[in-house]
Structures are given as structure tokens and as C-alpha cells.
């Protein structure tokens, strides 16, 4: 029974890939060749790969550098810096890119896109690296220092090899996000495969050209995913026990304290203060800055309702898979679990495209309705819910069920009195993660929301696309306010899986 449910969930997650495969089969090889082997596609591919490569390099350096300063050096105010370095997660990338382009219209270049996207995604590397630093056995570093290695040599020869998995995992996440990024890059007018799919869709609506572009995009994602799977196999470098018992003696920066502070201040300034400052200035100076409270409240209400429904649906869908992955370990459970991860690796634009096509072909009545939108959210954000449900199931070992049974409690009563109370925190955390992701989701919402339904993200998008920054600012402010609590939680508990 559970297996059937989990298989149905996996099938839902596979829908985008199936859609592309069917389209490829229908168009045929010559059609594919005609649509894909074009100079324009080559250019888009080049743009995309360059941006992914550049962002990975920049975020890796930024993430590891800042994590080292915060975790292992005597730089003043480490706790404050830690929160500030995680805080950009509360700013959707399309909001910060609007902010940047409104300040510096000349940023619509490769350099501009690299700057904006790297700053927005650096926390994806920073957080796992911080977690890895905290998990490293201090004894190893002390041993190395005892053997006469300098701080730099300790970093290069002892810490960096152990951080490898965290850095690779974080940068893979960055790469997948850059591949899927639509809003920020469209705002910066930097064409990638994803923005091109959107333009193509707007121009020809569900044409094979859009689908073939999406196919190329998905192929890139799959390559990255394969790398991820290979990585998973080697995980387990860092100590994963109860965490380091002692705090390591931090490296004295001495005369380098000033430059270190300058580096941190620059990163935080560029990733946080500039976008937030731009939002505030839009609000104060923008000609269109008259807040229509009724509309803002209505949009916020719509967003919260959609996010709440999506959180509920996604969490329920995550339960069978998360349960199987722990209690019925085996190739089938692993396959079903990994399949659902595919959905979130596929860019939102592709998921939306697939659901549009399915909506039109199979269930015409459902096209541009809330259920289809919720299905898209579920496909995109299932892994977040599954990861947390899974962790919760792992923390409630079967022994509790055995004990309850030996005390004469029936199976339904055991579910009610033991299993659900134990899983509740995990289920709640998973639902909250999905909720917050939906609040700032732009791409799928743009394509699939019923006509006239505006969320905070789409309202911000249409206002800032029309250069009405003053009108856009309140929507951004509400999104930031809603995302902030989760960000604070993430900065506190860096060990929690980062599947954003």
C-alpha cells in the first residue's frame, strides 16, 4: 500500500521528464536536430554554461572563505557575521536583481549576472561548509598544528580535503539553481536556456521549440545530478556524531583583522545592504510608491493560502516515501526516493511547461487552475518535505512501536499515541520549508496561476518589469518578512539539510 502511494508520488515527479521524452519522440530525430542544432541554442548553451561555471567558482571561494573566517578565525563579531551571511537567503534572487538593475542599469552583462547571482547563492555553499567545519574533529587540526604546520597549511592539507564533500554539495546546489533561475536573469536581460524557454513559451505557447530547449536544459541538470549521485556515495568525511565536543582555538588574525573585516563587510554589503537599501529607496522616492493596502493584503492572503495548501499537499505526499526510505530500506525505496528528487532538480520552467501540456492534452478542464499549480509546487518542493519527514522517521526507531505493542496498545492507537507525536515536529518543519519556498516562487506561478490570481512574487514581478519600483517594493518587503524567520532558523541549525 505504502509502496503504491510512494510509486504514484514518484510518477508525479517524473511527469516533466516524461513530457519531454514524449515530445522528443513525437518530433522525431530530424525535428530535434532542426530545433536543437541552431546557432541560437549554442549561444544560449554557452551563456548558461559560462554563468554556471563562473557562479560555482565565485560562490565556492566566497562560501569557503567567509565560513573559515567565521568558524576558525578571531575575526570580531563572528555570530553577527554568521547571521548576516545567511540572511541573503531571505531575499529572492529576482528581488535582489531588480534592486541591482534599478541602481545600475548597466549590469545587464555577463559580469552583472555573475555578481548578482553569486551573491544571492553564496549561502548555499557557506552553510554546508560551516556545518562541515563544525563537524571536523578538532583533534586532527591540533595534531597538524602540533606537527608544526602553519595556519594556511592546516587549512590546505587538513581542512580543505575534509570540506571537499560540503563544497561540492553546496556548489552543485548553486549550479542547479543557476540552471533553473529565471526571474533574476530575465530582469538582468542575460539570456540563458531557462529565460529562452520562457520567451519561447510566451511567443509560441507550448510549441516544440520551447520543449526542445527545455530538453537541453534538463540534460544539463541530469549531468549535474549524476555527479551528485556519485558524491553521495563518498559522503561521510566529516564527523557526523554529536558534533565536536570542544571549540577549536581560533586562528589569530592579528594585523589581518582589518582586511578580514573589510572582506566580510563587502560581501554582506553587496549581498544584503545594497538590495535592501534599494528597496527602501524605492519606497521613499518612487513616484509609484503609494501602498494600496487592500491590494497588498489581498495578494498576501492569496499567497499564504496557496502556500498553505501546497505545504499540506506536499507533506502528505512526502509521508509514504519518507517512511519507506527508512523502514523498508532497499533498492526499491531508494529508487522511489531518488525519483522524487529528480523533480526538484528539473527547473520550475520545465515543470510548469509539462503541466501546461498535460493540462491541455489530458485534462483540459484543469489548465490554469489551482490544483495544477499545487501539483507543480509539489513536484518542485517534494524533496524538502521528504528530507525532513525522513529525518523524523529515523529519529523514531521501531523500538517505540514494539514497546507500545508489548504494553497492549493496538495498531491504530499506536499510530495516534506514538508514531504521529514523534513525527509531528519533522512533518511541521517540512511543511514550513515548502510553505516558505512557495511564498517566493515565481516561475511556475507565472505560467500556471489562474488568470487574475496574483501572488506576492508575480505582483512584484509585473510591477518591477514595468519599472514601477515603488509599487513593487511592498510586495518584496512582505516576502522578506515572511522568509526571515526560516532564515534565522537555518542560521541557528546549520546541520539541517539544505535542500532549498
Amino acid at each position: 500500500m505504502t509502496v503504491l502511494l510512494a510509486a504514484a508520488v514518484a510518477a508525479l515527479a517524473l511527469l516533466p521528464l516524461v513530457h519531454i521524452a514524449v515530445a522528443v519522440a513525437e518530433v522525431g530525430w530530424s525535428g530535434v536536430a532542426e530545433l536543437v542544432f541552431r546557432p541560437r541554442v549554442a549561444e544560449l548553451l554557452g551563456n548558461t554554461v559560462r554563468l554556471v561555471g563562473g557562479t560555482v567558482a565565485v560562490t565556492a571561494v566566497l562560501g569557503v572563505g567567509t565560513a573559515w573566517l567565521v568558524e576558525r578565525s578571531t575575526v570580531p563579531g563572528r555570530r553577527v557575521w554568521h547571521v548576516l551571511l545567511v540572511a541573503p537567503l531571505a531575499l529572492p534572487a529576482f528581488v535582489s536583481s531588480s534592486a541591482w538593475i534599478s541602481l545600475l542599469p548597466g549590469l545587464d552583462t555577463y559580469g552583472g549576472a555573475l555578481l548578482v547571482v553569486s551573491l544571492a547563492y553564496a549561502p548555499f555553499v557557506y552553510l554546508p561548509v560551516v556545518a562541515a567545519f563544525r563537524g571536523l574533529d578538532p583533534a586532527l587540526e591540533e595534531t597538524a598544528r602540533g606537527l608544526g604546520l602553519s595556519a594556511w597549511a592546516v587549512f590546505r592539507r587538513v581542512q580543505l580535503p575534509q570540506l571537499r564533500v560540503a563544497v561540492l554539495g553546496g556548489t552543485l546546489l548553486v549550479a542547479l539553481h543557476v540552471l533553473a533561475e529565471f526571474g533574476a536573469l530575465a530582469m538582468l536581460r542575460y539570456p540563458t536556456l531557462t529565460t529562452a524557454v520562457y520567451d519561447q513559451y510566451r511567443a509560441t505557447f507550448n510549441g516544440p521549440a520551447a520543449t526542445m530547449l527545455a530538453g537541453v536544459l534538463v540534460l544539463l541538470c541530469l549531468v549535474l545530478l549524476l555527479a551528485e549521485v556519485r558524491l553521495r556515495g563518498t559522503r561521510g568525511y566529516a564527523r557526523t556524531g554529536a558534533g565536536a565536543a570542544r571549540r577549536v582555538v581560533p586562528v589569530r588574525l592579528g594585523a589581518l583583522t582589518g582586511p578580514a573585516l573589510l572582506v566580510l563587510a563587502t560581501v554582506v554589503g553587496l549581498s544584503l545592504l545594497v538590495p535592501l537599501g534599494a528597496l527602501v529607496s524605492w519606497f521613499l522616492t518612487g513616484t509609484s510608491a503609494r501602498v494600496d493596502w487592500a491590494v497588498l493584503a489581498g495578494t498576501t492572503g492569496t499567497t499564504l493560502a496557496l502556500a498553505g495548501a501546497a505545504a499540506a499537499v506536499t507533506t502528505v505526499l512526502a509521508l509514504p516515501t519518507g517512511w519507506l526510505a527508512v523502514r523498508r530500506r532497499g533498492p526499491l525505496a531508494t529508487l522511489l526516493e531518488r525519483t522524487t528528487y529528480l523533480g526538484s532538480a528539473v527547473p520550475a520552467i520545465v515543470v510548469a511547461l509539462a503541466l501546461v501540456a498535460v493540462g491541455i492534452r489530458v485534462l483540459p478542464g484543469l489548465y490554469q487552475t489551482v490544483p495544477v499549480l499545487l501539483a507543480a509546487y509539489a513536484v518542485l518542493f517534494l524533496p524538502r518535505a521528504i528530507v525532513t519527514v525522513r529525518a523524523a522517521v529515523e529519529q523514531s526507531p521501531p523500538v517505540h512501536d514494539d514497546v507500545a505493542a508489548s504494553l497492549g496498545v493496538s495498531a491504530p492507537a499506536r499510530l495516534w499515541r506514538v508514531t504521529l507525536p514523534l513525527l509531528a515536529p519533522g512533518i511541521g518543519a517540512g511543511a514550513a520549508l515548502v510553505f516558505l519556498a512557495v511564498v517566493t516562487e515565481l516561475t511556475a506561478t507565472l505560467l500556471l496561476a489562474p488568470t487574475g490570481t496574483e501572488t506576492l512574487a508575480t505582483a512584484f514581478w509585473s510591477a518591477s518589469s514595468a519599472l514601477e519600483y515603488g509599487a513593487a517594493a511592498p510586495y518584496a518587503a512582505v516576502m522578506v518578512l515572511l522568509s526571515a524567520p526560516a532564515t534565522v532558523l537555518l542560521s541557528r541549525d546549520v546541520r539541517r539539510g539544505l535542500t532549498t
Partner: protein
């Protein structure tokens, strides 16, 4: 309280046989320890008795009623068996009181005096009732788990390595509190352990499990002084094994002529002595050289090299100890237990005990 009878129990995990025909009788109101190395099948036996696993063959009888095997399978929740898992397995979402009262009927769950009574039974202060499990020490968690298991007045209590996660000092206290609580309720209990000191000191009878079957079932004293074979002998304590020649109820060995604890046929034999039977004396006896002294305070273990090169252990009171390299004479107190000469050999000198003063398996 009811007696437990296990007959011909067989169980495999996949192709690996775990139990290969276990027969066990636990009389009503007594405590039996299942003693064996890890992987010998003792936990599997416990889980089958509890009803968490089904046997491949054989029966489990509880108070004269067949609860498993012979085409019957009474579910765990209808067996009335209390279960104390390793490390307690307390419900983390419930307070101590909520845990203890978990198996009681709904109307009794709010009864504070009942909870307090159960906590007192396991030697815990009633003030702990409102704590949550992670605020308790390991030993307290074990006691709460026992109180929870005893609350519905089960006919049998099963304890799965209840003390293995506790450190030495806590273990002794907890062990005594658990034994007292079991005795006070008159519960029939089965305790799984791999620690022979724990088994010998806690249980009324000890069942040594080896390779999926029972090697010996006896009360602790008999098990220690008359083990069924040399392997069991070495498992329940440190063994001194000597070759000898039996004749007329006595045996001649390297430590002189020894009396026999039980009759045996004349001819070559192997005999078992315990280290505490070896006494160092200044007078006549077998000469030996001291090769090592482990001092534990209350007593000491002295490693001796006999003239033949054989190394044996002696356990003496910690007063006047010889120094390493000294020559001493050894006399033997009490009888030796004979075994056939062809019996499987064990290393003549045990490894150093894990804990001071407690004999350990070789």
C-alpha cells in the same frame, strides 16, 4: 505471574540460522539470564518471546497457553509481556509519568499515586514524574522503562541488555534496583546480557546461549563451579586449565595432586580450576615465577609461569603481593573439575579482566 516454556525454537534471518532448537523453562516468579556473546541469538529469542518476531519452528508457552508456534500467533499486544529495550526506549514526547502510565487503561493514566508508587518500586523519586526523558541519566531512564513495563502487571518481563549502555558505577546501582523491583513484584523475568558478572549476580538461573542453542541452563553457583564444558567454563569466568592423569578419584597435575569435584574415569583428563583456588604460600607447593601483577585494590590478579612454561592466573587478596620476577610456591584449595582430555581447548591464561575484581570471559 506465569512460567515461560520455550520448546524447540528455530529461527533464521534469510539464510543465516540464528536459533537452532532452543529449549528453555523459566519457573514462575524467577529471573533467568540469557548469557551469550553478541550474535549468539539471545536477542532474537527475546523478540520471539515478546511477539515482535515469529519463530520458524517450535513453540512458546506462557502460563500454559501457547502464544507462538504450532499454528498460533498471539500478537505482542495481547501477550501481557513487559518489555524493557536497550537504552530504555522511552517515548521522547511524553513525560516520565506519561511513559510509566502508557500501558494503563485510560482512566488510570492520570492517577499520580499509582505513578509515584511505580517510581518508588524502581527506586526513583516521585519528583521525577514531570521530567522528560532526555533530562534523566541513563540509569534513571532504565528504571523508568522498567516501571513502565511493570505498570500493567505483566505475566513476564523481558529485559534486553538493560545495563550495557551504563558506565560501571551506575550499572551496579541500576542492576541492584532492577533486581529488587523484580523481586518485590514477584515478576517472572528474562534478562539478556553478554556480561557474565551481571548474569551471575542478578539471576536465579543462567542460560548460556551459544551458536543458536542452549549450552547450559543452571543456577549461577552450579554454572560457575560445574560448567558443562570448558568453553562455558571460560565464558562465565577466568579458567585455569591443566592436563592431568586421573586415578582413584584424584588427579595428578602440574600443580600437584588435586581432589576431583566429581567422579571421572581413570586416565588422561583436563581439569578446571578457578584463579581464586590458587594460593601463594611460602611453604611447600609447586614452584612458579611471577610474570605480572594486576592490582585492583580489593584484590589482585597474579600471572604465574609454571616450570613447564604454562602460564596461569591466581587471584589473591590485595594485601601482601609478590613483585614481578619473584619465585613463589603455589598450592591449590578445593577440588578441580575434570573434563575429557579430548575436550576443545581454551587458552590456559585468560586475558586481563575488563573490570577490576570481576572475572571475565576469555
Amino acid at each position: 505471574m506465569s512460567a515461560l516454556t520455550v520448546t524447540g525454537l528455530v529461527k533464521s534471518h534469510g539464510r543465516t540460522p540464528v536459533l537452532t532448537g532452543v529449549d528453555l523453562h523459566v519457573p514462575s516468579g524467577t529471573t533467568t539470564a540469557l548469557l551469550g556473546p553478541s550474535g549468539c541469538g539471545k536477542t532474537t529469542l527475546l523478540r520471539i518471546v515478546a511477539g515482535f518476531d515469529d519463530p520458524d519452528a517450535g513453540t512458546v508457552e506462557l502460563g500454559g497457553r501457547v502464544v507462538a508456534g504450532a499454528g498460533r500467533g498471539v500478537p505482542a499486544r495481547s501477550r501481557g509481556i513487559g518489555f524493557v529495550p536497550q537504552e530504555g526506549g522511552l517515548f521522547p514526547h511524553l513525560s516520565v509519568a506519561g511513559n510509566v502510565a502508557f500501558g494503563l487503561p485510560r482512566r488510570l493514566r492520570r492517577d499520580r499515586t499509582r505513578v509515584a508508587g511505580l517510581l518508588a518500586l524502581v527506586g526513583l523519586d516521585a519528583a521525577l514524574a514531570d521530567r522528560v526523558p532526555h533530562q534523566l541519566s541513563g540509569g534513571q531512564q532504565q528504571r523508568v522503562a522498567l516501571a513502565r513495563a511493570l505498570a500493567p502487571e505483566p505475566s513476564l518481563v523481558l529485559l534486553d541488555e538493560p545495563f550495557s549502555s551504563l558506565d560501571a558505577a551506575l550499572r551496579e546501582d541500576t542492576r541492584r534496583a532492577v533486581a529488587d523491583a523484580l523481586r518485590a513484584t514477584g515478576a517472572t523475568a528474562v534478562l539478556v546480557t553478554h556480561d557474565q558478572a551481571e548474569a551471575l549476580s542478578t539471576a536465579d538461573q543462567v542460560a548460556v546461549v551459544r551458536g543458536g542453542r542452549l549450552a547450559q541452563l543452571a543456577d549461577p553457583r552450579t554454572l560457575y563451579s560445574r560448567p558443562a564444558d570448558l568453553e562455558v567454563a571460560a565464558f562465565v569466568g577466568e579458567a585455569v586449565v591443566l592436563d592431568g592423569e586421573a586415578a582413584g578419584g584424584r588427579v595428578t597435575s602440574e600443580l600437584g595432586e588435586l581432589s576431583l569435584g566429581r567422579p571421572c574415569a581413570d586416565g588422561p583428563v583436563r581439569v578446571l580450576l578457578r584463579p581464586e583456588q590458587l594460593r601463594l604460600s611460602g611453604g611447600p607447593g609447586t614452584r612458579a615465577r611471577v610474570r605480572g601483577v594486576d592490582f585492583y585494590g580489593h584484590d589482585a590478579r597474579i600471572e604465574l609461569e609454571l616450570p613447564s612454561g604454562l602460564r596461569v592466573s591466581a587471584r589473591t587478596e590485595g594485601g601482601d603481593l609478590p613483585s614481578e620476577g619473584a619465585e613463589v610456591t603455589v598450592v591449590v584449595a578445593g577440588p578441580a573439575v575434570p573434563f575429557p582430555a579430548a575436550a576443545p581447548t581454551v587458552p590456559p591464561v585468560a586475558t586481563a579482566p575488563a573490570r577490576p575484581g570481576v572475572p571475565t570471559a576469555t
